[in-house]
């Protein structure tokens, strides 16, 4: 049984999740000079070093610079205690509230405080609770609002003036939330419920050998699968992709142990299939292992770091003896890394996989034709697409082929709820598309 662990600490080179209320952001803490931008606030990160993950920091205004869209405030961060984080409502001790809003006329002049006054308050380094207190004092209608309406007002203001950030360690859950919220295209439209089901239906775990082809999800798919394979286990993942370099940001951000990272073999689909079909000789001809793809061009990450530390994640040969024998005639300098990866992948391909996950931007038929024979019998397959018509077709093809049974085409509704005393209801907005999953089991 595990003993009490000490909380891990923030290190240089780490990816960190910066959270300000419900807003979260993935950021690389590359050096002591690194700053992070949250809207109009710029944060100097250096004081994070060696602090425990999960800590909360107070944003302290250092200077205000004129920016393109109004003033940009530069902040230092000061570690603060949990007790500093009291509910603004409690601080203000608001009590009197109207029974309903029948007496309120919104004439746009309810607030007597001018924007200049508010900016002044902020620059003076006032707490958000102080600023909000002032706003409430100077509102002509606040005390006539219903409690519900007051709370809404306070939350809105608190969101704007909230001066605390929490630093968290990236996990699959936190990163998927960030990517999907920023732009669901970053993860090919794979929503949280869908990712969770890809992991379930694929059966990926600490035992076995898994095959993934994806066209670019900022690494969230290989990261989620490798995360489920776990540290100190015997599971392996072959991660095929269509581009020059795999998108690996999420993998890097997880900061997995090296031995675990090495059990993910990332290879170009075309290159590895050529080697697989034609053996070693093929490699002497096609030097760049690539068939260029669109995914490369439209790199979706703003602060992409997929190539920044390839050393940490590029797999090192696991079975050096075998590798040496096979690549003996490669010359003194040794074969390029991608070549070794292809070799490791083909060895796993020859051994057969324990499941197949496809998330292609291309039509899945030809990819399935190439990869399905690599999967052992009685093993799950999972195909993701945002296009229902496409998977309907694939469903019919697979059904006709007789190679896969238990075929299901599914999608999901995900509904979040606001649960508050007397104000419980489903959230008024919901995500419209889960995408579609085609699942089944291979037959002998």
């Amino acid at each position: 049984m595990a003993t009490e662990e000490s909380t891990p600490r923030i290190q240089l080179g780490d990816y960190i999740v910066i959270q300000r209320q419900k807003y979260t952001k993935l950021q690389k803490f590359g050096s002591l000079d690194t700053t992070a931008t949250l809207g109009k606030e710029t944060l100097e990160l250096k004081s994070l070093l060696d602090q425990p993950y999960g800590s909360t920091f107070k944003m302290c205004v250092k200077e205000t610079k004129p920016g393109k869209r109004g003033a940009q405030r530069q902040h230092t961060l000061e570690l603060c205690s949990e007790t500093e984080l009291r509910s603004t409502r409690e601080v203000l001790g608001i009590s009197s509230s109207g029974a309903d809003n029948r007496d309120i006329r919104d004439d746009g002049e309810a607030q007597t405080l001018k924007p200049e006054d508010i900016a002044q308050l902020r620059e003076e380094g006032n707490d958000s609770s102080k600023i909000i207190e002032k706003l409430v004092e100077n509102s002509k209608t606040f005390h006539n609002r219903t409690e519900y309406s007051q709370e809404k007002y306070l939350l809105k203001k608190e969101k704007k003036y909230f001066e605390f950030v929490q630093i968290r360690q990236p996990t699959i859950r936190l990163m998927l939330d960030i990517f999907y919220r920023q732009d669901s295209e970053k993860v090919m439209g794979i929503r949280v419920d869908t990712l969770s089901q890809i992991i379930s239906y694929s059966g990926v775990c600490g035992f076995g050998s898994y095959l993934l082809y994806e066209s670019g999800t900022n690494g969230i798919l290989p990261a989620a699968m490798l995360n489920s394979i776990g540290a100190g286990t015997e599971g392996t993942l072959v991660h095929m992709h269509p581009g020059n370099v795999p998108q690996k940001q999420s993998l890097l951000a997880l900061k997995l142990p090296l031995e675990q990272q090495q059990r993910c073999v990332s290879v170009n689909l075309y290159s590895v299939l050529r080697v697989f079909y034609q053996g070693e000789e093929a490699k002497t001809i096609d030097l760049p292992p690539v068939e260029p793809s669109e995914e490369q061009a439209q790199e979706l990450l703003t602060d992409t770091l997929a190539e920044e530390q390839p050393e940490a994640i590029e797999p090192i040969t696991k079975k050096p003896k075998l590798e040496e024998v096979k690549s003996g005639r490669e010359g003194a300098k040794g074969p390029p890394r991608w070549h070794l990866e292809n070799k490791r992948a083909t060895a796993l391909m020859n051994a057969g996989f324990d499941s197949l996950v496809l998330a292609p931007k291309e039509h899945p038929t030809s990819i399935l034709q190439a990869l399905l024979p690599l999967v052992k019998p009685s093993r799950p397959i999972v195909v993701f697409s945002t296009c229902r018509e496409l998977l309907q077709e694939t469903f019919m093809e697979l059904k006709t082929s007789g190679k896969v049974t238990g075929l299901h085409l599914t999608s999901n509704w995900l509904r979040t709820y606001q649960i508050l005393p007397n104000r419980t209801h489903p959230e008024v907005n919901m995500s419209g598309n889960s995408g579609y999953l085609l699942t089944g089991y291979t037959l002998r």
Binding site: L269, S366, M430
Partner: protein, 315 residues
């Protein structure tokens, strides 16, 4: 006057829907002149993203026509409650077509029906009630906010449907629907923060031969309290439900079909060239498909319906 019945040409004073695109339309009043903030009478010029419209020019035009704007064009449509709901000036949160359709259906509103509504709000639902019950029924609509009641009354007059509606400024939770309406209603609709307080008044207002009841509440606790009260008073067929409409956005998607077969052949110069060609002249497949928008309405409100059976003594 354009809400009374279908008509073919725009008359002076009509509300007209200026339809620019699915996401952009406006309700404008077809009057040649308006009074500006300074109290001066000036020509009525309406500004849109596609330029301005001299409103005088559309009077006499056939509904469904294309009209020129200074930088484009638009279509003029006769307003329907559906279009009005999308363009009306919001004075409150409003209820939209999917919920309203269910309300009209479940309350069994048809010409001749006497319907009580509270609150009037922005009049979105009122317009549907009026379409459904005119010319032989009547809507009694209540709002506790005086300005809103006045605005609604004025709007119904300008829309040509004032004959079928009475607008009351009244706090129905405390004061009820007035004794004159006791036993007069076929249906009662409530959109109130505390519907349970108005249920006994709804009970009194419904006909002795029975009737239908609906309450719209954003929060489940309101529905819970409302249902307790309904049960106590002998309502039955109590049903709570939600209607969520999804838009299916139709589009054509193009997907590349990749060839992996050529990888089985040794890469001689010829096959390399062939492979190149395969890649460049990549096959694609087109799909006519549809998907929901990224964000959908996830909740509007809980609709609670109930029946007051006939001949329940109202003591």
């Amino acid at each position: 006057m354009s809400f009374l019945k279908p008509k073919t040409h725009i008359e002076k004073g009509d509300v007209v829907i200026l339809y620019l695109s699915v996401s952009s339309m406006h309700a404008i009043e077809a009057v040649p002149e308006i009074v500006n903030k300074k109290g001066e009478t000036i020509p009525h010029i309406f500004q849109t993203n596609y330029g301005s419209l001299k409103v005088e020019n559309i009077i006499g035009v056939e509904y469904g026509s294309r009209v020129e704007l200074s930088k484009g064009w638009a279509n003029v449509l006769q307003p329907t409650p559906e279009l009005w709901t999308q363009t009306l000036p919001h004075r409150t949160q409003i209820i939209y077509t999917p919920d309203i359709s269910m309300i009209i259906h479940q309350l069994e509103v048809r010409p001749g029906a006497v319907v009580i509504e509270s609150g009037t709000g922005s009049g979105s639902l009122s317009h549907y009630f009026l379409r459904a019950l005119k010319p032989t029924g009547h809507l009694h609509t209540f709002d506790f906010h005086e300005a809103r009641a006045d605005q609604a009354r004025d709007e119904f007059r300008r829309h040509g449907i004032a004959d079928f509606v009475t607008v009351y400024h009244r706090d129905v939770c405390n004061l009820g629907f007035s004794g004159e309406l006791d036993g007069k209603a076929d249906a009662v609709f409530l959109d109130l923060p505390s519907p349970d307080l108005a249920v006994p008044h709804a009970f009194k207002a419904l006909k002795l031969s029975g009737g239908r009841f609906c309450s719209f509440s954003p929060c489940i606790e309101q529905s819970q309290r409302c249902i307790q009260e309904l049960t106590k008073l002998g309502f039955n067929e109590i049903v709570s439900l939600e209607v969520l409409q999804q838009e299916n956005v139709v589009k054509t998607r193009t997907l590349p079909v990749i060839d992996l077969e050529f990888l089985k052949l040794p890469k001689t110069e010829e096959t390399a060239a062939a492979a190149e060609e395969t890649k460049t002249s990549k096959e694609v497949k087109k799909y006519l498909t549809s998907s929901n928008p990224q964000t959908l309405p996830g909740h509007t409100g809980f609709l609670t319906f109930a029946t007051l059976p006939p001949n329940i003594p109202k003591a």
